[in-house]
């Protein structure tokens, strides 16, 4: 009986099946364990190390931007900053809000900043450091150093911060750096992965992306936002160093393995062709006027001045500018945030007559002696086109037409030459395409012709459009920088080198789309003679401003130098017939509100007989080019001749040779 149930249930055979099954299951566990612990143990040992040891990127030293004489335009200064660590604060049984309150009594921490610190302390992982204030004075810094032991979790540190010793002078051209936002980081990751030929889905790519993310989270790390700082970001940044740290699963740094630090490569220094003192002079000369000035060395193509005024102080952006201040800058009608020389496009006005004159001579449709009668207005295609001088210039030819800037002459010249030829010559003078100089931004302007108008305006070219183009109005636009190139080309002729801004430190793709090509021997001489007449022959529009060295103080060959030039006024509004008075005169500029006044333009080169420096000045809403812009151009050219920066080659930074003793690849 007692064994009976086992027979009925065939228990023993079931037990054997169970034990067999158990043996199989135990065998499977053993096999899997053997796979992990015997055959793949090395792989997991490596992974275990990778798990614990993290490479934290250390911000590299950002390259310096110099002017041609070695003056620092963008450098690094010692930065005293204070961070707090919420975890350590709570470990010291303190409260983040109290600590911030206490700090704000000694440090310049705004209410808004305090709120954002508290928000960070709430939202991010508690062991991450939060920046409280940077760019502190030595006094503040030492005060915090004294307090720090009582306030557990507050650290005063020394690092580097970008600084711009010329303040607003290079806001546009050199640009500025700021803390990277999410978009910047994404862009950096994309660029970086492209450079090393990885995609974000590979393991290596993801690793690289993580390193970049961490690098830009570092309180010291900044990213170039504009100008040379943004264009040359990669060269200026260099290669981040690596600090090996031991981390736990949450990413908390347990220990720093200092012995395994890998130093990075500091960013390259960049030398610009700019002359900072000259640029400063140009800005001062403008005074309260808004506008831009560009000076180009005709012989070398080097850009010596490229300024836009007014401008904000880029130093204000480095630690983060307040929203109110930024909004004020955005809403300022003088557009301080805008690079007027490079990104601004204006109707070139009468300065375009240089192009029309050259085109008319080249086409052969107009000989220098051909005379046109100016009665103050001219009839083309069923309407009147007005000359700027209502009583008219009488009989004018090419020379006097340029000298007096007679609109009627150039209406006729444009009509005879035709828009296609004018557009071709305009492009040969450097208008209508963007120049890559080594800074962000840059506008191409527009050189219209039939094809352009059909593509852009979806409309055919009317004959009347050519007439307006003859005096640089209508669809023609150009940046002041392009006008400087145009002026350098008329001064230097077909051999004028391409303009460049960067002397050393970063490669700039040469995008000289337009070649000047050959002109008939006399054409350029005739135009130059006309430009000389503007400033130096009685009746010229800028006759009062032709002497660059009136006192004869400059050394040879610049003694008693004169400049040649061409004035221009660009209308910012259409003058309706009703606005002209009985004599056909438009309302005077000084009777208009500032923002409706014409832009005053002047392009000039000096010395007139042996051109060395070319210059373009645009005074926004300045009124008349010949009376407002011309004296600026003269004074800037006088200062340029006096300094004669083209006489000395741009400086070569020593650091280029002596970067780091070891651990860098040869470049």
């Amino acid at each position: 009986m007692s064994r009976d149930w086992k027979n009925r249930s065939s228990f023993l055979s079931r037990r054997n099946i169970f034990l067999g099954g158990g043996a199989v299951a135990w065998g499977a566990l053993t096999v899997k364990l053997a796979e992990l612990q015997l055959f793949r143990s090395e792989e997991f040992e490596t992974k275990a190390t990778e798990n614990r040891i993290r490479l934290d990127p250390a911000p590299p030293h950002r390259g310096t931007v110099y002017d041609r004489a070695g003056r620092i335009l963008a450098g690094n200064k010692r930065n005293f900053y204070v961070t707090l660590n919420p975890e350590e604060i709570s470990n010291a049984s303190l409260n983040v809000a109290d600590v911030v309150k206490q700090l704000s009594r000694v440090l310049p921490v705004s209410e808004a900043r305090q709120r954002s610190i508290l928000q960070d302390a709430q939202s991010q992982e508690r062991f991450l450091d939060i920046m409280v204030a940077d760019d502190l004075t030595w006094e503040d810094f030492s005060r915090i150093n004294v307090m720090a032991p009582e306030l557990g979790g507050v650290t005063a540190e020394v690092g580097e911060l970008r600084s711009y010793p010329y303040y607003a002078a290079f806001y546009h051209t050199v640009g500025y750096v700021q803390k990277a936002n999410d978009k910047d980081v994404l862009r950096k990751i994309e660029e970086d992965l492209k450079a090393i030929g990885q995609t974000p889905d590979t393991a290596d790519g993801q690793k690289r992306a993580r390193i970049i993310r961490r690098l830009y989270k570092h309180p010291q790390m900044r990213v170039g936002k504009q100008g040379v700082e943004a264009f040359a970001e990669t060269a200026l940044t260099g290669e981040p160093g690596k600090t090996r740290v031991l981390v736990d699963a949450a990413g908390r740094v347990i220990d720093r393995l200092a012995s395994e630090d890998v130093s990075g490569r500091p960013g390259s220094d960049i030398v610009l062709t700019i002359d900072a003192e000259l640029q400063n002079y140009a800005i001062q000369r403008f005074g309260v006027e808004a506008g831009s000035a560009t000076v180009i060395d005709v012989k070398t193509g080097e850009v010596l001045v490229m300024m836009s005024t007014p401008a904000p102080d880029p130093n204000a952006f480095v630690s983060g500018i307040s929203q109110t201040a930024y909004t004020a800058l955005l809403e300022d009608e003088r557009n301080p945030l805008y690079h007027k020389a490079y990104d601004g496009t204006y109707p070139p006005g009468s300065t375009f007559k240089i192009v029309v004159a050259a085109a008319a001579l080249e086409s052969g449709k107009m000989s220098p002696e051909d005379r046109i009668h100016c009665s103050g207005r001219a009839w083309f295609y069923n309407r009147y086109y007005h000359c700027w001088k209502p009583e008219g210039h009488g009989w004018v030819n090419l020379h006097t037409g340029m000298q007096k800037s007679c609109d009627c002459y150039f209406y006729a010249a444009a009509q005879r030459t035709g828009i296609e030829k004018i557009a071709e010559v305009a492009k040969r003078f450097g208008l209508g395409h963007r120049y890559d100089l080594g800074l962000t931004g840059g506008k191409a302007g527009s050189v219209p012709n039939d094809a352009w108008k059909r593509a852009v305006m979806k409309e055919k070219w009317y004959d009347g459009d050519t007439i307006s183009a003859g005096i640089g109005q209508g669809y023609v636009t150009a940046s002041p920088f392009q006008l400087a190139v145009m002026c350098a080309r008329i001064a230097g002729g077909p051999d004028t080198p391409a303009p460049r801004l960067v002397a050393h430190g970063v490669a700039v793709p040469g995008s000289m789309a337009s070649d000047m090509g050959e002109f008939q021997p006399r054409s350029l001489d005739l135009v130059r003679a006309g430009m000389f007449a503007v400033t130096s022959e009685p009746g010229g529009t800028a006759i009062r401003y032709g002497e660059v060295d009136a006192e004869g103080l400059l050394p040879p060959p610049y003694t008693n130098a004169r400049m040649s030039g061409k004035s221009g006024s660009a209308q910012v509004r259409v003058i309706a017939m009703s606005e002209r008075n009985a004599k056909g005169e438009a309302i005077k500029n000084d009777k208009l509100p500032w923002r409706l006044r014409d832009h005053a333009l002047f392009v000039a080169y000096a010395p007139a007989d042996n051109p060395r420096y070319a210059c373009a000045v645009v005074v926004e809403h300045g009124g008349s080019g010949s009376s407002v812009a011309a004296p600026f151009a003269r004074d800037i050219l006088a200062a340029t001749l006096k300094a004669d920066p083209g006489a000395r080659p741009a400086f070569t930074p020593k650091a280029e040779v002596a970067t780091l003793p070891n651990e860098t690849e040869p470049t």
């Binding site: 009925r8 228990f11 169970f18 364990l33 612990q37 798990n51 614990r52």
Partner: protein, 385 residues
């Protein structure tokens, strides 16, 4: 001479080999738990850090439960047979109670609040179901009803009612454990192997369907993770990947007691409970891992021997059922830690920190001992008490 039925006689007649195996495993578990909170070389200071909080609690728990187990062993088997059905009914009633008045913990209703006491009836059912089944079959064998075609149908109902209730909590892991244990008892009770084979085929067909239609998203993710732990390292694959790193980096001989590096940096969640095996594998290597498998193999084999020597169907089937439960615990736990099975929250008995599993397992061992001590007697059972 000491009579076999006296207390001393019973103590002497204990299955000492099994008892010592259990003690050995539990002592080893205590050491591992000590290591789980300690470190030979702290990462920051380099000094040894010793923390016995889990170890002490574990050892104390084991000691107390050992007394409970011995007490259960010393009581007559008839008593436990008599309690089988009542216990089962109370358990089912409590499961219904959970259904209507349960306490929600971690998104699942598993606990029943009775005054100050929180009970987890589903855990209790892991023992109550095999006991009830053993008793049911015992009476069927007694009445010579075991060959009837319907005999296994009520048994199936005894299994499926609690399984359905536990699934509703929802607690897939425990439901599978109860189901596995129950089916094991039906298997030991002699259900035709053809039916077993048929069921296995059905499961093979139904498993993919269940995978796509019956599982929660997180459960499906756990299964998928198994096949490709690297796919989602920060999400579902994280725990498994980190566990495999710990296990794999242990190598043949391990890194040594308290020398495990992965544990110090909190890489593995639940490391002192469900993932305790990662510490064994990392610090004692393949050798230590296999030793644990062997120790458990020996314990289970002893348990099975006790079952096959039982004079009563109740004792034999209850013992076999409990051994099956234990085997499932060990296999599923180690299997999930090393990536052979999907992650389900099942601890490693006698080693993982935690009171519930210790209670279940030690009560089970007590019953096993009782079966051993009563191996020569059959018992006559009638009715439901």
């Amino acid at each position: 001479m000491i009579r076999r039925e006296s207390i001393l006689g019973k103590l002497g007649g204990m299955h000492w080999f099994l008892l010592l195996t259990i003690v050995a495993i539990a002592v080893f578990g205590t050491a591992v738990l000590f290591s789980s909170a300690s470190s030979a070389h702290d990462m920051q200071t380099g000094m040894a850090v010793l923390d016995a909080r889990y170890a002490v609690e574990h050892a104390a728990r084991f000691g107390v439960m050992m007394l409970v187990a011995v007490t259960i062993a010393l009581a007559p088997l008839r008593l436990w047979a008599g309690l089988a059905f009542p216990a089962y009914f109370v358990g089912v009633a409590m499961l219904f109670g959970v259904e209507f008045a349960g306490v929600v913990v971690n998104g699942a209703e598993r606990w029943l609040q009775l005054g100050p006491v929180q009970l987890q009836p589903s855990e209790f059912m892991k023992l109550a179901v095999p006991l009830a089944l053993a008793r049911y079959y015992h009476q069927m064998f007694q009445g010579q009803n075991n060959a009837r075609y319907w005999v296994h149908l009520p048994a199936l109902a005894i299994v499926l009612i609690p399984v359905a209730l536990v699934l509703r909590q929802p607690d897939l892991g425990t439901a599978l454990m109860i189901m596995g244990t129950g089916l094991a008892v039906i298997f030991f009770a002699g259900i035709s192997l053809r039916i077993v084979a048929g069921v296995l085929v059905l499961v093979a067909i139904a498993a993919p369907l269940a995978f796509y239609f019956a599982l929660h998203d997180y459960q499906r993710q756990r299964v998928l993770t198994l096949f490709n732990p690297e796919a989602d390292l920060l999400g579902a694959g994280y725990q498994l990947n980190q566990a495999q790193i710990a296990v794999g980096s242990g190598g043949l001989a391990g890194k040594g007691f308290m020398e495990g590096a992965q544990k110090e940096l909190d890489y593995i969640p639940e490391q002192h409970t469900d993932f305790i095996f990662t510490i064994i594998a990392e610090e004692f290597g393949f050798a230590g891992s296999v030793a644990v498998l062997i120790a458990w193999g020996v314990a289970l084999y002893q348990g099975m021997t006790i079952a096959s020597k039982s004079g009563s169907a109740f004792g034999g089937l209850a013992a076999a059922g409990f051994v099956s439960t234990l085997a499932l615990y060990v296999f599923i736990n180690i299997g999930m830690v090393i990536g052979l099975l999907p992650v389900v929250g099942i601890p490693l008995p006698l080693i993982s920190y935690g009171g519930t599993v210790m209670l279940t397992v030690m009560v089970g061992f007590g019953l096993l001992m009782s079966v051993h001590l009563n191996r020569d007697n059959n018992i006559a059972l009638r009715g439901i008490i």
